[in-house]
C-alpha cells in the first residue's frame, strides 16, 4: 500500500524533473517548446552512450547528461529559438514540432531504432525494508536527487539575483533592458538550464520510462499535462501536479487496472475544466 504511494512519488518526481524545464520556458518565457522532450532524450542518450560505449559509471554520466543537452539547448537558443520569442504560439508549436521530427529521425539514424538500455550500478539495485515498507533503492535515489533539485530551483528563482532578473526580464523585456539587465543572456542561460535539467531527467528516467528515438513524442503529452495542470505561474504548481499525477497514475493502475490510462487523462480534464489556469495557479 505505502509501496504504491512511494512508487507514485518516484514516478511523479521523474515527471517533474522532465517537465520543469518546460514549465520555465512556457510559464516564464511564454514559449511553447514541444521539443522539450528531445532535450530529455539527448540526456538519456548521453548517459547510454557514455556507459555502454565508453564504460563510464552511471553516476559519472549524470553531469554530462545535464551539460550536453544544456549546451545543445544554448546553441539552439542562440541560433534559432531566440528569433521566435515574439512569435505566435502556433509558430512556436510548428517550429518545435519540426525540431522533434528532426531529432527523432536523427537519433534513429545514428543510434538505431531499438531501445537503449542502461545498467544502473549494483548499489542502487534491489530494495530495502523501511518500517515495513518495501522501498526500491533506485527510486529512493531518484526521489533524493529530484528533491534536492526542486529545492535548489525554487531557491534560485526566488532568492537569487538571477531569479529576480529573470522575473524582471520576463515581465517586461524592454524595461528590464533599460535597467541594465542582460535580458538575452538571462534568457539563454535559463533556456540552457531548462534543457539541461530535462536531460538529467531523461538520464534518470531512462530506467523507469525506457529510452528510444520516439521518446519526445511519447512523453510530450505527459509533460504538457504536468505543466498545464500545475499552472505556469510557479515551480511549486507543476511539482505538486507531477506528484499528484504520478500517484494517481500508479495508484489507479494498481487498484483499478481495468481503467488503465483513463485516470491520468480524466484527472487532467476535470482539473482544467474547473481550474482553467491550473490547479495551483494563483487567483
Amino acid at each position: 500500500m505505502l509501496t504504491i504511494l512511494f512508487d507514485g512519488i518516484a514516478y511523479g518526481m521523474v515527471l517533474f524533473v522532465l517537465a520543469c524545464g518546460l514549465s520555465v520556458t512556457l510559464g516564464l518565457m511564454n514559449f511553447v517548446n514541444l521539443a522539450h522532450g528531445a532535450f530529455a532524450m539527448a540526456g538519456g542518450y548521453t548517459t547510454a552512450i557514455l556507459m555502454n560505449r565508453y564504460g563510464w559509471s552511471f553516476i559519472a554520466t549524470l553531469p554530462m547528461a545535464f551539460f550536453v543537452p544544456a549546451l545543445v539547448g544554448l546553441l539552439l537558443e542562440r541560433t534559432l529559438y531566440r528569433r521566435l520569442y515574439g512569435a505566435s504560439h502556433l509558430d512556436q508549436v510548428l517550429f518545435s514540432i519540426g525540431l522533434v521530427f528532426m531529432a527523432v529521425a536523427a537519433t534513429d539514424y545514428f543510434m538505431g531504432s531499438q531501445p537503449q538500455l542502461i545498467q544502473i550500478p549494483e548499489w542502487l539495485r534491489g530494495r530495502v525494508d523501511i518500517f515495513g515498507v518495501q522501498v526500491g533503492l533506485y527510486r529512493s535515489f531518484i526521489i533524493a536527487v529530484c528533491g534536492v533539485l526542486v529545492i535548489a530551483l525554487q531557491l534560485v528563482l526566488t532568492q537569487t539575483r538571477f531569479g529576480s532578473r529573470l522575473r524582471a526580464a520576463v515581465d517586461d523585456p524592454r524595461v528590464a533592458r533599460g535597467l541594465g539587465i542582460p535580458v538575452e543572456f538571462v534568457f539563454a542561460v535559463t533556456f540552457a538550464v531548462g534543457s539541461g535539467i530535462a536531460g538529467l531527467g531523461g538520464a534518470l528516467g531512462a530506467e523507469i520510462l525506457g529510452l528510444d528515438p520516439t521518446f519526445p513524442f511519447k512523453f510530450m503529452i505527459y509533460f504538457l499535462i504536468v505543466v498545464t495542470v500545475g499552472g505556469t505561474s510557479s515551480l511549486i504548481g507543476p511539482f505538486l501536479a507531477a506528484l499528484l499525477l504520478g500517484i494517481a497514475d500508479v495508484g489507479g493502475k494498481y487498484f483499478v487496472p481495468e481503467l488503465g490510462a483513463f485516470v491520468i487523462y480524466t484527472v487532467m480534464i476535470v482539473v482544467l475544466v474547473f481550474r482553467p489556469k491550473g490547479l495551483f495557479a494563483r487567483g
Binding site: L26, V32, L80, R83, L84, A87, H89, L90, D91, V93, L94, F95, I97, G98, L99, V100, F101, M102, A103, V104, A105, A106, D108, Y109, F217, I221, L224, I225, T228, T232, E258, G260, A261, F262, Y265, T266, M268, I269, L272, V273, P276, K277
Partner: protein, 333 residues
C-alpha cells in the same frame, strides 16, 4: 443626407457581399480538383486521402481560424465519426450516403455536448482539454473491443455502391470522386457560414470575446454551435475514411491524427478555409515524395522544412498568399 446614406449602404453591401462571392481562383481550384478525377487516374488513392484530410483540416479551421479555439484533440470527432460510419455499415445498412449522414449528425451532437468543456480557458488549456478528450475516446474504443474491434481495428465493413450506382473500385476512383464531392459540398456550406452574420460574429469572438459579449453576442452559444458544426465536419471526414478504407483502426483517434491536422492547417494558413486543403496537399505530397526517397528518415526532412518555414516566416509566406488572394479577388470587381 439620404443620398449619402444610400451610397454608403450600397458600398457596405458590396463590401460585405464580396466575402461571399466566388473568386476566379477558387473556381479554377475546384475545376482542377474535379478534373483530377479524370486526369490523374494513377493518383486517386492519395488524392482521396488528401480530400479527406483536407475536409478534416477545414473542420479544424472553422474552430481555430474563425472562432479562435485551438484543439489538439480534433481526431476525437474524426475517429468517432469513422467508427459510427463503420458500425452502421456492418450492423444496419451498407449505404454510404446514409452512413455519412448518420456519422455527421451524430458528431454534431457529440460536438455540441463536449463543447462545454472548451468554452473556458486560454489556448493552452483548450489544447490540453481537447487532447484529453480525444485520448479518453481512444481508451474507450480500445477497451470496448466487442464493439470497436479494439486494437485489431473494426473489420468486415462492406460498402454498397454510392447511390446504388458507383461501386468502390480498387483504383480508388469512386472513393476519390465521392470524397471530393462531399468535401466540396461541405466546403460550400462552410464558405457560406463564414460569410454569414453568424460567421462574422465568430470573428468578433475570436478577436475580442470580452467586447463580443458586451455587444450582446451570446458568446458561449455561438462557440458551442460552431464547435458542433466543426465536429460534424470532422465526423464526415472520418466517415469518408471508414467507407473508402472499409476498415477503422484504433489510431483514427490517436494523438498524431490531431497533431498532423493541426500542422497541416497551420502550414496552409488559418482563417481562409483553403488553408486546410492547401496544407493537406503540401504535407501529403511532401511526405509521399520524401518517404519514397528515404522511407526511414523522411521525418527529418519534413521537420527541417517546418523549421525553415517558421524561420523564414510563415506570415511572410502567408502574406504573399493573401496578397495574391486579394489581387485575384479584385479582379472580379
Amino acid at each position: 443626407m439620404a443620398k449619402f446614406a444610400d451610397s454608403v449602404a450600397d458600398r457596405a453591401a458590396a463590401s460585405l457581399l464580396k466575402r461571399g462571392r466566388w473568386r476566379p481562383a477558387e473556381i479554377l481550384f475546384w475545376l482542377v480538383a474535379f478534373g483530377a478525377v479524370y486526369a490523374l487516374p494513377g493518383h486517386h488513392l492519395i488524392l482521396n486521402e488528401i480530400a479527406i484530410i483536407g475536409l478534416f483540416a477545414v473542420s479544424l479551421d472553422l474552430i481555430l481560424g474563425f472562432a479562435g479555439i485551438a484543439s489538439l484533440g480534433h481526431a476525437a470527432f474524426f475517429g468517432v465519426g469513422a467508427y459510427a460510419a463503420g458500425l452502421l455499415a456492418i450492423h444496419v445498412t451498407a449505404d454510404p450516403v446514409l452512413g455519412l449522414v448518420f456519422a455527421t449528425l451524430l458528431m454534431a451532437v457529440v460536438g455540441y455536448v463536449s463543447s462545454f468543456l472548451v468554452l473556458r480557458g486560454a489556448d493552452l488549456t483548450r489544447l490540453m482539454v481537447t487532447l484529453g478528450v480525444a485520448l479518453v475516446f481512444g481508451e474507450i474504443a480500445n477497451k470496448n473491443g466487442w464493439l470497436t474491434g479494439g486494437a485489431d481495428g473494426l473489420q468486415g465493413i462492406f460498402m454498397a455502391p454510392v447511390f446504388g450506382v458507383f461501386e468502390f473500385d480498387l483504383f480508388g476512383r469512386t472513393a476519390f470522386a465521392y470524397s471530393l464531392v462531399v468535401t466540396f459540398l461541405l466546403f460550400v456550406v462552410a464558405r457560406r457560414i463564414v460569410a454569414s452574420p453568424f460567421g462574422l460574429s465568430l470573428l468578433a469572438i475570436r478577436d475580442n470575446p470580452l467586447r463580443a459579449r458586451a455587444i450582446g453576442i451570446p458568446v458561449n452559444a455561438r462557440l458551442s454551435a460552431i464547435y458542433a458544426i466543426a465536429a460534424a465536419y470532422a465526423g464526415a471526414a472520418g466517415a469518408l475514411l471508414a467507407q473508402s478504407a472499409q476498415f477503422v483502426s484504433i489510431d483514427v483517434l490517436a494523438f498524431h491524427r490531431s497533431a498532423d491536422v493541426l500542422l497541416m492547417l497551420v502550414i496552409g494558413g488559418t482563417g481562409y478555409l483553403y488553408g486546410g486543403i492547401v496544407g493537406a496537399i503540401v504535407f501529403k505530397v511532401l511526405q509521399e515524395v520524401i518517404s519514397d526517397w528515404t522511407p526511414q528518415y523522411w521525418t527529418f526532412w519534413v521537420g527541417a522544412l517546418l523549421v525553415v518555414l517558421v524561420l523564414v516566416g510563415r506570415d511572410r509566406v502567408g502574406a504573399r498568399v493573401s496578397q495574391l488572394w486579394a489581387r485575384l479577388g479584385r479582379g472580379t470587381r
